[in-house]
Amino acid sequence: MTSRRLWAWQARFSPYLFVLPFVILFGMFILYPVARSLMLSFYRSAGVRRSEFIGLENYRFLLGDPQFHLALGNTLLYTALFLSLFIPLSLGLALLLNNRNVRLRNWFRFAFFSTHLVGQVFVAVMFYVMLAPRHGLVNRAIAAVFPWIGSEIYWRANPTLAMPAMVLASLWTSVGYGMIYFLAALQTVDRDLYEAAQVDGAGRWSRFWHVTLPGIRPVLVFLVLVGTIASLQLFELPYVFFDPPSGPGMRALTIVMYLYQHGFEFGNIGYASAVGWVLVLMVFLISMAQLRVSGAIREL
């Protein structure tokens, strides 16, 4: 082979060789499991060798299962509650810590972000202790401020309080993460625009609405999207926090928990795969809807 031909071969195939390791790993660990789970969702299985094709039966059962409806409702409610607090709180904190007059800004930034460095299981255990009846920090604080309420608040046992407890724990770990993104976005907003708006007589609210918000819109869309996807996949937190993991009155039964229960506790992997695919479809549709509503899809 002449050196010219070798160079030509190299020029032609080297891009493929460079991406080959990725393609192999992607195929092995992403594509194959995804395809296999799709196939499994059309089967009823028990054990290693026994399975039978049942077509769309798993999907039919799923759509008619009241427990799945409950899990869906809980997950959507959690997503709505979480996002409606996560975005304003993260943004509020970022605005506050973007202010040059705040002392020890960097320290506060780190302090608020550091909660995101711990895992969901740790958060669940910590809130388990903090929200414990009689002994928990939160309950003791409530009893100290509002003595008539007392310290016997059953966050884990009261169906009304189960969802707020989950949202509270999730916010504790996520708000700092959102804040960092907003802080980065705020620093990219052109200062001249603020000065121009001020010259034009715009007040604080007007400047925020017409200058800040459009300036940070891409990050806002990103955080809403990421927050939605994470919320729809909620599992570890209620799994560790509640006993039983579906929570009092099944108020903490999320879609992934439902998947886990059927796949790993009941042992019906085929059915769990069907649940997984419905979740994938939901995440896709909701994300697309969000991108369309926010107008971000045009920028993709």
């Binding site: 009823r44 028990a46 054990g47 290693v48 060798r49 026994r50 399975s51 039978e52 039966e57 059962f61 009241p66 427990q67 255990v125 388990y128 202790v129 414990a132 009846p133 009689r134 002994h135 928990g136 007392g150 310290s151 016997e152 059953y154 884990r156 046992a157 009261n158 169906p159 560790v240 509640f242 006993d243 039983p244 579906s246 929570g247 009092p248 009155g249 099944m250 229960q261 790993f264 506790e265 009941f266 042992g267 019906n268 992997i269 059915y271």
Partner: protein, 452 residues
């Protein structure tokens, strides 16, 4: 000095360069003839203390791995489903009653554990172990695990506080009577300003102790043949009664903090929860975390609903089994005999816990017939032994955990009913919810069943 990629990358590279030799020089864990997975720290400590002796006696080396109770069933399930063998698969596994059901879903010949009936019958262990305790670890008569325990259930109570209130709790032989006495107890302490002094620990949100009460009445929500017993009228009756124990004007119970072993004990110590259901495994935490309760506690059998009920039940449980693909099944069986059934195993168990062994002959051991100063001289082990003969069988199938979740949901609905409408129509409603739960569970079982 400047570094093109920045100081953080330089620092990370330096740390990696410094630690890499240490990581590379780390020796792999020594290979052993047998590997055993356990999920309880207490069990791990007990077995570690005697494994050397087993190795000396048999020449078989053993590696014991302690895994998280949440992670172990998932890992094991993955291994079984993939048909794994060799060094990734343990030879022996300890499984907990709460999650063993999932392993019994495949047909008998595909369950990832080895049938032990032959091993058990050769040495007569099947006759020497409490028979009922094979129930959770069996499918269609095939035994897949040797029971670690019996776990009879009693009630432990703060005698000092009940005495001060002038209540003789042990004279309560029925649950109804027990509730009455507890109400009097709470009224006494409330009049002295103790609003948070609850008679007994029972949760509103979980059905664990309710299942214990149902077992006491001989009811398994799902039996070994996957027959559903939600429609047994005694289930609705018991749920309605339980709801009144945890909610409403007749309430005598409250939730404990749970989780951390020391935390529920703290509630007992402070007198917030003055009695609690006590399978033998709970004693360890009590003695470990509340030494200063010594002499202030007493233990009593469970009150009954009907005269035909047993004065005890069973809660929790562990088994030790051999994986189907293990290549050293005979050695593994020897290890089971050594850890669970031998005198050496018994001594080690007595050093670390109060858990009664399932081998009936071992109950004659003098250690189980001593006065226990922690319980004011009461012979609590004798009480456990007396009750252990009467424990009901508990069956576990893949549907058991679903049934438990459904029962928790019914309790929740009963509690809501009590809050809104009081006791009027409560039992009828419970019957209706139980019937619905039975239908739902049947539908799920049918949906998951293979046609052949």
């Amino acid at each position: 000095m400047s570094f093109a990629l920045g100081k953080p990358i330089l620092l990370l590279s330096a740390v990696a360069a410094l630690t890499a030799p240490w990581a590379l020089r780390r020796q792999a864990l020594p290979r052993a003839d047998l590997t055993i997975w356990v999920f309880a720290d207490l069990h791990a400590r007990t077995y570690r203390s005697i494994l050397d002796e087993f190795q000396r006696q048999t020449g078989t080396t053993v590696r014991l791995e302690l895994l998280s109770g949440r992670a172990m069933p998932v890992r094991l399930q993955s291994l079984f489903m993939s048909g794994a063998s060799g060094s990734v698969l343990p030879d022996l596994v300890e499984l907990e009653i709460g999650w063993v059901g999932r392993f019994f879903r495949p047909p008998l010949d595909e369950i990832g554990l080895t049938p032990l009936n032959t091993f058990l019958s050769v040495n007569g262990w099947d006759q020497r172990i409490v028979r009922q305790r094979f129930a959770p670890w069996s499918k269609q008569g095939v035994v897949f695990g040797v029971p670690h325990d019996v776990h009879p259930v009693t009630i432990t109570y703060r005698k000092d506080l009940f005495d001060e209130a002038g209540i003789d709790l042990e004279s309560a032989t029925t649950w109804q009577n027990f509730q009455q006495k507890c109400l009097e107890f709470q009224a006494y302490w409330l009049s002295r300003g103790y609003a948070h002094r609850h008679a007994i620990e029972l949760p509103q949100s979980s059905s664990d102790w309710l299942i214990t009460m149902l077992l006491q009445r001989g009811i398994n929500l799902v039996d070994e043949r996957e027959n559903i017993h939600f429609n047994d009228p005694r289930v609705a009756q018991t749920v309605a009664f339980y709801a009144q124990l945890v909610c409403g004007p007749q309430r005598i119970a409250s939730e404990s903090v749970g989780l951390g072993s020391g935390m529920w004990v703290n509630d007992v110590l402070e007198g917030n929860l003055c009695a609690f259901m006590t399978p033998d495994w709970r004693i360890h935490d009590l003695k470990a975390y509340a030494g200063n309760l010594a002499g202030r506690l007493r233990m009593m059998p469970l009150p009954r609903f009907d005269p035909t009920d047993t004065p005890t039940s069973t809660a929790g449980g562990t088994m030790l089994g051999i994986t189907r693909n293990s290549t050293r099944k005979d050695d593994a069986w020897k290890l089971i005999e050594f850890l669970y059934l031998s005198q050496t195993g018994l001594r080690a168990r007595q050093q670390t816990s109060n858990i009664l062994p399932p081998v009936i002959a071992q109950w004659d051991d003098a250690a189980y017939h001593r006065e226990d100063p922690y319980f004011g001289g009461q012979r609590v082990d004798e009480l456990y032994i007396q009750l252990a003969r009467e424990i009901p069988p508990r069956y576990v199938t893949p549907a058991s955990s679903v049934a438990g979740t459904q029962l928790s949901f019914i309790v929740h609905r009963a509690v809501e009913h009590l809050k809104r409408r009081g006791t009027a129509g409560l039992e009828e409603q419970c019957r209706l919810w139980c019937a619905r739960a039975a239908d739902d569970l049947r539908r799920r079982i049918e949906h998951g069943k293979l046609s052949q």
